[in-house]
Amino acid sequence: MITLIRWELHRFYRRLAPYYLYGALALLVTMVTWGMREFGRFSSRGGGAGLEIVGDTRNALMVSQGASLTVAILLLYLVPVVVGEIVGGDGATGVLRTILVRPRRRAQIWLAKYATAWIYALSVSAALMGLSLLLGGLFFGWGKLYSAGDLHNGKLIVLTPREGLAYVALSYSLLTLSVMTAGTIAVALGSWLDNALLPGMFAVGILITLQIITGLPYEWVEPLKPYVFTTYLLDHTKAYPNSFDPATGALQFPAAAIWPMVRVHCVTIFCFAAAGLWRFLQRDVTC
């Protein structure tokens, strides 16, 4: 199995598309860092509670957090397009018939491909996080993570660099989960569509359609929302503590914001992965 994954990765990284995305990330992170440099001297007057914060909030963690907010959409839309080719592309070129006459279970081959998609999504998230920490660190140095979550109670949340890093990492993990929900849809569609681009494009189409539907201001949409993964698409931004325990005064882990997201994404991933695998096992290879 390890051999298969290694070969899938080798094939995957011989393509150009994965690198375009890394390149785009580098560009965007540079811009985010630049933006912080210009405007990040956080001096906010007004705000809900009329609080005024004056001070320098520019540091590696803040850049990384900022990057995960602004660049997330790019990953959500582009990773599916890139990973959609892993299965669909083999159907398009006929390579599928060459590899499926080898003495391997189709399940193994599919799982190796799916693992490759995960590894890529993880690598992209890790690259985004690593690069933003690096650039932020180089320009501004380390520092505390500030969260305005409890501002309406008149409290600014300040995390130590250590705590802050843990939460940033958590946030990036959740972003990866979101990205791979879309990525899983793309990989799964590859079992139906023998095409390099269509699975990814359909996955993005599904994503946008569901986003629009769950964003509709109608009452009948409300009961659906909790079950649709697009409701939680950008919930990695909620991975930071935003309140204090009223009894102890300690920071509260944002479990209530995270669990619904994790649950719905995991169920969605499981369903699409199972469907894609099932179809891959059943299908007639006519390409």
Binding site: T3, R11, T98, L100, P103, R104, D284, V285
Partner: protein
Amino acid sequence: MSSGLAIEATGLTKRFGQRVAVDALNLAVPRGTVYGFLGPNGSGKTTTIRMLVGLLRPTAGSASLLGHDIRRDLIAGLRETGAQVESPAFVSNLSGRRNLEYLGALTLGRVPAALVDQALARVRLTGRDRDRVRTYSQGMKARLGLAQALLCQPRLLILDEPTNGLDPQGMHEVRELIRHLAAEDGMTVFISSHLLAEVQQLCDRVAILRRGQAVAEGPVAELLSSAGRLRIAVDEPDGVDAAALVAEVDGVQIVAREDGYLRLAAPPEQAAEINRRLVSAGVAVGELVIERQSLEDFYLDVTGREAQL
């Protein structure tokens, strides 16, 4: 399953919607033979091969590779089988060598470089093995297709039109290679082809498919001798129809009537009977020649002269 057979199929059927591509096909390919699989375009050769190697699910029927049932034990059968289905398709941005390493890894986990070298040398790709497949010519891809099928030293080789796109040297080499593999290594080779002269030279047995059904099967020599061709020079007296006379003989078919000549498809052992009837009706038989039939003639007889898809 009988272990004496490299490929066995019983009642193998594939339907695509309403279209029956392969219709209750029976096949028995003895081990160690070079077996030709013939038929017009769309007669179901590729579909049969795809079923045998597990790319398509049969609608009905069963088959086995080297004694391993393809429904229950496909992987075991594929372990000892090398196959090239339709035109070769490779990972185009990897080199020929890398492709072989990749495909070999799927079979063996890791292929020894010596096996890769050997396969490349056998199809004479050694000098170009580090180029991307994207840059290969059609014939080079055909060679690489053969190389990947041979790579892991299979006992059964299944080739779907392997000489498609090869130059005359290439065809010759492939023919020699297949002969060598069968004779020296005892490999069974199952080969679909439209090149009947080649098949006639190469194959011990053939099956001819028409609309998904086998219309002839057997050793090439037997098939050709069983339905020979006769050319008879006749001089008919008025009122006697030589063609009608010979048509009554068992197994005789009139192929053509030309000026003073009859061409027949007939078992050669009927030649004497045909001659007797003609002579006793007063027809002067100037010449009676048993023509050695080519596989092409035989093929066209059993599949029909006009191609209908």
